[in-house]
Amino acid sequence: MTRYILRRLAAMPFLILGVVTLAFLLTAVTKGDPLTAIISDRQMNNPEVVAAARAKWGLDRSLPERYLIYVGNLLQGDMGTSFITRRPVAQDVLYRLPATMELVIAALIVGSSMGITLGVLAAAFRNTVVDHVARLFALIGSSIPVFWMGLALLYVFSVKWGIMPGPGRVDPRAALPPSVTGFLTIDTLLAGHLRLFLDALWHLLLPAFVLGWAVAGTISRLVRANMLEVLSREFILTARAKGAGERRVILRHALRNTLVPTLTVIGYSFAYLLTGAVLTETIFSWPGMGSYAVEAARGLDFPAIIGVTIVGGVIFLITNLITDVAYVVANPRVRLG
């Protein structure tokens, strides 16, 4: 087991380098001229301004040179300067990362509780109405475009009925607490602002549900399949022969045996959540990495695009590594071998 973890850890730097390289290469195939994002149209005709801008952003160097410069800077934590915000990309990303993580973690909690509940219900009542409804609900979650559902829920709950807050992380009129973790739900608690905490939680609910429903489908399908498999195993019969009730058989004996694959699929859901977060953040005006990425992509802000893509890739690599290692650690049968 230790050897497996070490091997996976040793591969990480190479994978990260691959991620960096691939992300960087993307900008090399660009057809759009990033200069248009830096200087105004009128000044495009002014060769001096254009040359100065090219020199400043390193656009006049050859590709390998630019790559080496980029990697060198990256190692020092420098991802260049955003064309749009004119701030260092690393700073922008660090500033926006917590909002995304808060949303993604909330969505993961919502999505896994929904997914596990639906999956268990579907398996416990298999081939009944409960099963069909649970499966349909899950399937709709993975079929619905998150950006459309976000719009629809905002319209219905916030505009029509007024029972949910509008977009954003908190009431825009509120004074924000000092940023410690960047997670508003935690920072407000640290500052002792209970009302603001509840407001932040309240704002988190809709986007987390939108994003969570999308992964709940995948999770519930896997939980259902695993539950059915476990329920057909002999120790379930033993539990029944002991006199255990159906509830106990399902929750204590079966569900616990599906824990490892369930945790695994929840871990892998992270990728989907990062993907969905891009769109959810746009709809809910969530000031996270996703909306940053969208602004960067729309504005051909290449340093920002590369930066966000690399950070996204690295987060993804790390969560997958954690998931894989957790799988090996948690699974007694793998541990044996």
Binding site: E234, A241, G243, A244, H253, N257, L259
Partner: protein, 332 residues
């Protein structure tokens, strides 16, 4: 026909049928098994795999697989089990009626400690008991089935046990509430030959000591020779012969039983080759008319292919064969 002790039977199954509905068709896997066990008696149930012996016994205590339909009568200490509410059936299972299974590895929950699994069996039927007391009881039970170092073993997982030790754990779990009836479904089949005898020893000793009524399900008639008081032979979902164990070996009434006896290794050792019954049992649902054994029977006549034989009795010894007990006489 009461067993020798003369008391009411502890457990009595009458005309038990188990049917599956599949794509609109009904498949009868158990076609009317009847048998009975007296308190403290060991009944051997023998038959080939797929004969319905295990399914029938599972169904008799409400453990049939999903989608199976069970009919017939099952009485335990005079109470009709098939009409019992589910909660009451559940409170009987594991306390008054316990069961052990063939493969102890797959029958134990891999993610629960052995102690937790035994303790669960204890406190499921002793609601007021503390978890600690249940654990202590689990330790005693491990000692009872002669597992060394119960203090240490109790917090281990099933994969840390050997096959024989796992089956001992299953036995400990089964006798946790001092049951009246133990149903042992092929308890030694999945084990190494060397530990089979040990496990049978443990079972026999506990049966004696706790005065258990026991149903010992097996495909190996030889196992029953030293351990059963009476034997029921099951073929194609029905009991085809029942008799006291000595009577059965001395005067088997059904040709299928004779085949089974002849295929026991040490009994066949006088002849130079091991006997085996030709052919295989009919798959569920494709029964021929007449005697289900007729296609494989060396002495089948026209009547066997036409009429299903009734159970013929000679005292307490019954056999479902047209030619039982006087096969030389009416062989025309």
């Amino acid at each position: 026909m009461m067993p020798a002790t003369g008391t009411t039977p502890l457990f009595e199954v009458r005309d038990l049928r188990v049917t599956f509905e599949k794509r609109g068709r009904s498949l009868e896997a158990v076609r009317g098994i009847s048998l009975h066990v007296a308190p403290g008696e060991v009944l051997g149930v023998v038959g080939e795999s797929g004969s319905g012996k295990s399914l029938g016994m599972l169904a008799s205590i409400g453990l049939q697989p999903r989608g199976a339909r069970v009919s017939g009568s099952v009485r335990f200490k005079g109470r009709e089990l098939t009409e019992l509410p589910r909660a009451e059936m559940r409170s009987l299972r594991g306390s008054r009626i316990a069961m052990i299974f063939q493969d102890p590895l797959s029958s134990l929950n891999p993610v629960m400690t052995v102690g937790a699994q035994i303790a669960e069996a204890v406190w499921l039927h002793n609601p007021g008991m503390s978890k600690r007391a249940a654990m202590d009881r689990a330790k005693d039970l491990l000692a009872l089935v002669a597992i060394p170092q119960p203090d240490r073993r109790i917090s281990q997982y099933p994969h840390e046990f050997s096959g024989g030790m796992r089956q001992r754990v299953m036995i400990a779990m089964a006798v946790a509430n001092d049951p009246d009836l133990l149903i042992a479904d092929e308890p030694t089949t999945a084990l190494d030959v060397t530990v089979q005898a040990q496990i049978m020893g443990v079972l026999a000793e506990l049966q004696q000591r706790l005065k258990l009524g026991m149903i010992l399900i097996t495909h190996d008639l030889g196992v029953l020779a030293g351990h059963a008081d009476r034997v029921a032979v099951v073929y194609a979902g029905r009991v085809v012969e029942e008799a006291g164990v000595n009577d059965l070996f001395a005067r088997p009434g059904h040709p299928y039983t004779r085949g089974l006896i002849a295929s026991i290794p040490n009994m066949a050792s006088q002849t130079d080759r091991l006997f085996s019954i030709e052919g295989s049992p009919p798959p569920i649902g494709t029964l021929p008319p007449g005697c289900p054994f007729a296609p494989r029977c060396p002495m089948a006549r026209d009547i066997c292919r036409r009429d299903a034989p009734p159970m013929l009795f000679e005292g307490a010894h019954g056999a479902a064969c047209h030619f039982a007990f006087d096969r030389a006489g009416r062989a025309a």
